[in-house]
């Protein structure tokens, strides 16, 4: 279990033993396989992992875009079943999502102001005048002009479009944003604008973020806490500084070592391509057994997250 933080603030997001299964029968994929995580108000939890590790499925379950197979997602202390419209709407006021691709996540036929105001219309918040004023505030807050509000998504650059997506996500005044690779499609200079905007908004509004990325340098920059996901499981979790300075799990060390232009820590993992060739390890073994240079006898049993330091845990028999 991750160590809960020594604070009196209740988590805004509590994910407990979450399991999400895609498909059924022998083809079923446990995309998220028993994840437990907390996010405190005003805090950023960075979730890092490679493609296929289940991080986007986790994001969708948190945002209420899919019903988990088992386990719970609590927002502000309670569970919001996806099946009921009223519950889904109430949940939308707690959590909103920013997607990776600002081209496909905005309706091309609506003006920017209409896109940003749509959540207010759907939820029937305020009259047209109040909604117009709120939209103007939101556009201003994310650094867009009123003139840009009259434009259509295709008339904006990628960075501007991502600002629109953020303004829309803020419209209902949620307490937490789920950001799924929000800067991966952007150029470096634009990426900096969006990251700065997200950190300003966090300070001004006390927002919490579940920030998902494959890019550990971005995660390191923005996150208070880091969780590392591998094949549906959290393999390491802790305060950003300690995970970065003293990565306890061999997979985390591999990810850090793989950042180009940086050779601080030697890789302890075998080639990732070997992974596809390895015989399927037994279901009870550590998921990294076929990829990890440290793998030995005990690894035939999958380790749970164990504390490795203050507020820092890892799922590896050799992490201490």
């Amino acid at each position: 279990m991750p160590v809960c933080c020594m604070t009196d603030r209740a988590p805004v997001l509590q994910i407990s033993d979450l399991v999400c299964i895609h498909g059924s029968g022998p083809e079923a994929l446990r995309a998220v396989d028993g994840v437990t995580l907390n996010v405190l108000p005003g805090q950023t939890l960075g979730l890092v992992g490679e493609s296929g590790c289940g991080k986007s499925t986790l994001a969708r379950a948190v945002a209420g875009l899919m019903e988990p197979s088992s386990g719970t997602v609590r927002l502000d202390g309670r569970v919001w079943p996806v099946a009921r419209l009223a519950e889904r709407r109430a949940r939308a006021r707690q959590v909103q999502m920013v997607f990776q691709d600002p081209f496909s996540s905005l309706n091309p036929r609506l003006s920017v102001a209409r896109i940003v105001g749509e959540p207010l219309m759907v939820h029937g918040i305020g009259d047209a005048t109040a909604q117009g004023k709120r939209v103007a505030d939101l556009l201003d807050r994310v650094g867009l002009t009123a003139a840009q509000g009259r434009r259509y998504p295709h008339e904006l650059s990628g960075g501007q479009r991502q600002r629109v997506a953020i303004a829309r996500a803020l419209a209902l005044d949620p307490r937490i944003l789920v950001c799924d690779e929000p800067v991966s499609a952007l150029d470096v200079s634009i990426q900096a604008q969006v990251l700065n905007l997200l950190s300003d908004l966090q300070k001004e509004l006390g927002l919490a973020y579940l920030f998902i990325s494959h890019d550990l340098s971005v995660i390191r920059y923005i996150a208070d806490r880091i969780a590392v996901m591998y094949r549906g499981r959290i393999v390491e979790e802790g305060a950003s500084d300690s995970v970065w300075a003293a990565p306890a799990h061999p997979y985390t060390r591999t990810l850090i070592a793989a950042i180009p232009g940086q050779t601080r820590i030697a890789s302890t993992a075998r080639t990732a391509d070997a992974l596809a060739d390895a015989p399927a390890a037994s279901a009870t073994a550590c998921r990294l057994i076929d990829r990890c240079a440290l793998a030995q006898g005990p690894c035939a049993q999958e380790p749970a997250l164990m504390p490795v330091g203050d507020d820092h845990s890892a799922a590896c028999w050799f992490s201490r």
Binding site: A192, H214, S217, Y221, A223, S240, A258, A272, D273, A276
Partner: protein, 319 residues
């Protein structure tokens, strides 16, 4: 001074009867060297690569300038003669190995096709070469994989197949356009390591097109920075990354969330965005976004100023 392997001289590319996408580009790659071409989307780096390969898309044309490989002016060759060079002496690796491999041919056939095309050898000999190449790029279990179709391989494995096909005829130069951008970080590290080994073992020169300064640092000997179709800085990697001279290069480096710089430190933003090719400012292309802009920056493009050590930059601050 020996002649460079590849030389681009005042290359201008643009839309037919339209805006210019790359303007007056001078670049060279020496034998066995890795030149990184860096820039953000729209800077013209991919168009430059395609121009070298003679693969410019419909509607884009070379308006002036030349491309020379080992003394041969590629830009004045017939399509047939260019085809004899492309794939044999220069090869290209694309960003997305799924879309650049033929989905209905086995990977072995695709590698062998290159060999047969250029060396006219038998099917059997070409297949043997394909297998040899797949082993060379360390594709695990190559003897079985040679009959696999692209969709049966992972992204990293597909990229290895692309590299194997590029290497099949022992080219002097490989052009790699964002070869690892679509890959996960751990796979990216392996593909970069593979490219580096191949260069060291076979002396193949590499023109590496990337937006990632981390990749530049890890791989390149020299780097050219492009902005809005113009080269704004060039030099050895340590010169440029340790002492960037152009404000754009400096800001590009500061905009990057540097993992070691610590958390929450405000990133440098480059205000605005890259000008569109049909609304290019008359002066320096970066002037509208430059924090150190001077009045004369708006008048005409800055001249190129180089140092004796080969570190050059186009900025009035260095006039």
């Amino acid at each position: 001074m020996t002649e460079p392997l590849l030389a681009l001289s005042s290359l201008t590319l643009g839309l037919r009867m339209g805006a210019d996408l790359v303007r007056g580009l001078d670049l060279h790659v020496n034998r066995g060297e890795v030149l990184a071409v860096v820039g953000e989307s729209g800077c013209g780096k991919s168009m430059t690569a395609l121009a070298v390969m003679g693969l410019l898309p419909d509607g884009v044309t070379r308006k002036s300038g030349s491309v020379t490989l080992d003394g041969i002016a590629l830009t004045s060759l017939s399509a047939r003669r260019l085809r004899a060079i492309r794939g044999k002496r220069i090869a290209m690796i694309f960003q997305e190995p799924m879309t650049s491999l033929n989905p209905v041919l086995t990977v072995g056939e695709q590698i062998a096709e290159v060999v047969r095309q250029h060396e006219g050898v038998s099917h059997r000999a070409a297949r043997a070469r394909a297998l040899e190449m797949m082993n060379r790029v360390k594709l695990p279990d190559a003897a079985r994989r040679i009959d696999a179709f692209p969709h049966q391989l992972s992204g990293g494995q597909r990229q290895r197949v692309m590299i194997a096909a590029a290497l099949a005829c022992g080219p002097d130069l490989i052009i790699a356009d964002e070869p690892t951008t679509a890959l996960d970080v751990t796979i990216q590290a392996e593909v970069l390591r593979l490219l580096d080994e191949l260069r060291r073992d076979h002396g193949t020169a590499l023109m590496l097109i990337t937006h990632d300064l981390g990749v530049v640092e890890a791989m390149a000997d020299r780097v050219a920075v492009l902005y809005a179709g113009v080269k704004i800085e060039e030099g050895r990697v340590e010169q440029v990354l340790d002492g960037p001279r152009h404000p754009y290069t400096r800001m590009l480096m500061a905009a990057r969330p540097d993992a070691d710089a610590g958390r929450g430190k405000r990133l440098v933003e480059i205000a605005g965005s890259v000008p569109s090719p049909d609304a290019m400012p008359p002066g320096c292309a970066f002037a509208p976004r430059c924090p150190q802009v001077k009045p004369r920056c708006h008048d005409r493009p800055p001249a190129w100023r180089g140092t004796a050590e080969g570190h050059g930059c186009a900025c009035v601050l260095h006039d």
